[in-house]
């Protein structure tokens, strides 16, 4: 309650300060239009920005604000990396890629960079990772940093977990397993949902009706809940074979997500089917395959590609959530969601050792970073393809 009063009081004080400053600026500059017409809210915004900046600088020099310093450093590094990557893209490459990079905002180039790094990690995990993903070492609970004075070990740069598995290795293999499985799931969902959606759009009639009603009902159950329900059944079917459970998970999530893809593919397809050129192709006597692959698909690429990105994020988050709850990707495979669950208790030691708390956050951060990157890229693509500037 008292904190709330402090916040309100502070805001009122800031409001007063900004009013005084605006008045002062008006007097000093001889009533320039910039200050004369400035609403109080804008002045408050400037003052608030200055206060936040000052607070950040103050926090930077506090000895125990380690996480804040890490955050700012990480932010600075990613901005610089994104900038360099964009500059590289602008100078190297073919004409089209150069043009794409010239129009790109910093967020999108950051997204591309992150996706590229993850893809490399996922494909070359076996080469990049220092150890095997299930290899167990003598040293348990080694802290990240590689400095023996702070509880690290040069042999394990990011430390080890409770039973002594190297975390750097598991993070890299996690890229292969988690991202790979999510990608396979999305592809399957698009194959099923996309082709059914296009078929429904082309044929219409009873096929469209039946498919749409089925999808309506399936979409009425919240996706995570439905996935959990089906996973219960799958775990009974899979029995003791853990890899089978992973296969079932891919199928289940692909089924649930293909309903969303179906909706979009059908809507996009329907708006294309009524076009004159499709009518012309039909009159020419072209077959169904030609209609779908040569007429509809090329014109539906942009929205479908954006949907692919968003869908990937959803699937990736769902799989991570399932793994986090202990019903997703199963133990011998390294996976980020499971890592977060296993390491979560370390967060309670943050006050004594920030490095310990970093353990679970690394895995969770790896998930967040990829989805943020994909979202940045999709956001830019949507903005570009819609041609909306305002």
């Amino acid at each position: 309650m008292i904190t709330l009063l402090w916040i309100i009081g502070g805001l009122l004080a800031l409001l007063a300060i900004s009013w005084v400053l605006r008045k002062l600026a008006q007097v000093v500059t001889g009533n320039k239009p910039r200050f004369r017409d400035m609403p109080l809210a804008v002045a408050l915004g400037y003052v608030l920005g200055v206060v936040v900046l000052a607070f950040g600088v103050w926090l930077w020099f506090q000895p125990n604000a380690v996480f804040f310093r890490w955050f700012v450093q990480g932010l600075a590094i990613s901005v610089v990396a994104a900038f360099i990557f964009r500059w590289l893209g602008r100078t190297v490459g073919t004409k089209t890629t150069k043009k794409a990079f010239r129009q790109m905002p910093l967020t999108a180039s950051f997204g591309f960079l992150v996706i590229l790094i993850y893809a490399i990690c996922a494909i070359f995990a076996g080469v990049l990772a220092p150890y095997g993903q299930a290899e167990v070492f003598q040293n348990v609970n080694v802290l990240p940093g590689g400095n023996p004075a702070t509880g690290g070990d040069p042999a394990h740069l990011l430390g080890t977990d409770q039973i002594g598995r190297d975390l750097l290795t598991r993070l890299i293999y996690g890229a292969q397993n988690t991202v790979g499985i999510a990608f396979a799931t999305v592809c399957l969902a698009f194959l099923v949902g996309g082709s059914l959606g296009f078929l429904a759009a082309v044929f219409g009639g009873w096929l469209d009706n039946i498919l749409s009603r089925i999808v309506d009902v399936l979409m009425a159950i919240p996706s995570l809940i439905f996935a959990l329900l089906l996973m219960t059944i799958a775990s009974a079917w899979a029995g003791s074979q853990q890899w089978l459970l992973t296969v079932y998970m891919v199928l289940i999530i692909a089924l649930i997500d293909s309903t969303r893809v179906f909706r979009l593919a059908r809507a996009v397809g329907q708006s294309i089917v009524v076009m004159d050129y499709v009518e012309a192709a039909k009159l020419r006597g072209e077959g169904l395959g030609y209609l779908i692959f040569r007429e509809i698909l090329p014109n539906a690429t942009a929205p479908l590609l954006a949907e692919l990105g968003l869908r990937f994020c959803f699937v990736f988050l769902t799989i991570s959530a399932l793994s986090f709850l202990g019903i997703g990707i199963q133990p011998p495979l390294a996976d980020w969601g499971t890592m977060v669950r296993d390491l979560a208790q370390f967060i309670n030691f943050a006050a004594f050792s920030p490095l310990a708390a970093a353990l679970p956050l690394m895995a969770a951060g790896a998930i967040a970073l990829l989805t943020v990157a994909v979202n940045f890229v999709v956001d830019w693509m949507l903005h570009k393809s819609s041609g909306l500037k305002e």
């Binding site: 609403p39 219960t232 059944i233 009974a236 959530a321 967060i347 006050a351 956050l361 943020v372």
Partner: protein, 318 residues
Amino acid sequence: MGLLTLFVVSIIIFTAVNMLPGDFAQAILGQSATPEAVAAIRRDLGLDQPPITRYFTWLAGVLQGDLGTSFAQANFASFVGEDSGTRTTVADQIAPRIKNTLFLAGVTAVIAVPFAIGLGILAALYRNSAFDKVSNVFTLTSISSPEFFVAYILILFLAVLNPWLPSLSNIYDGMAFSDRLEKTMLPALALTLVVTAHMMRMTRAAIINLLASPYIEMARLKGMKPMRVIVHHALPNALAPIINVVALNLAYLVTGVVVVEVVFVYPGVGQLFVDSVKIRDIPVVQACCLIFAAVYILLNLLADILSILSNPRLRHPK
């Protein structure tokens, strides 16, 4: 329409659960059970009837508020002798948890909805300014982070590094309201962060969509203040999509609640659901699933009704 969907959904849930291989009775008693014991339990649970009869018995029970007996808690009449009347039904197990979950969702909604709409209006007002760009990046980030990441970050900063709020929400009956609120605060904040971003972006988009309309131009040319233009002229017309997205997000809360409840060990339906999934306690899974689906469908229905009510043209059809 909503009821029909719910009916079909209940059929799906029931069939899905009945696709489980093997026999519950066998599973409970283990491999070495005598055939008589298995048969007794099957009779007890009504598993010897055909699926359609079982479905309608279950449905009739659900309609009367009887969700069946949890397998984990069942003490079977055939073993105990008389039904002692003390066995825990699923309804007993779920009822207090529903209250907790609704409390959590309610607190979240009270914080998130005004916050999101306010921020959305501000972002639309100062579009393309530094404020808009920063809030765009932040909302995109918080939309795309997994719930448990947001939750652990909050635990780290608000509970561990600065012990302001408790990180475990051990809520029990008969707690004072302020205590309860304090314990619920952290999960509610985590959910707020996840939900706010989407609502705010939609509010901003809905308002900006309208800004090119002639009547907005007119209001601006009259010399109205930008804030007044947005609140008095743009907002009422953008209300339908905003209400829709708010209701959708409240429905999303139902799903998001599962992970967040597990992180904070909050005694709600989501936690119960995950635990029952792990031990394959079928009646509880069935009941939780049905409840989540019902809330989801109801909120979607509410969204449709409210968006019709907010639009005078749809309210008074010609």
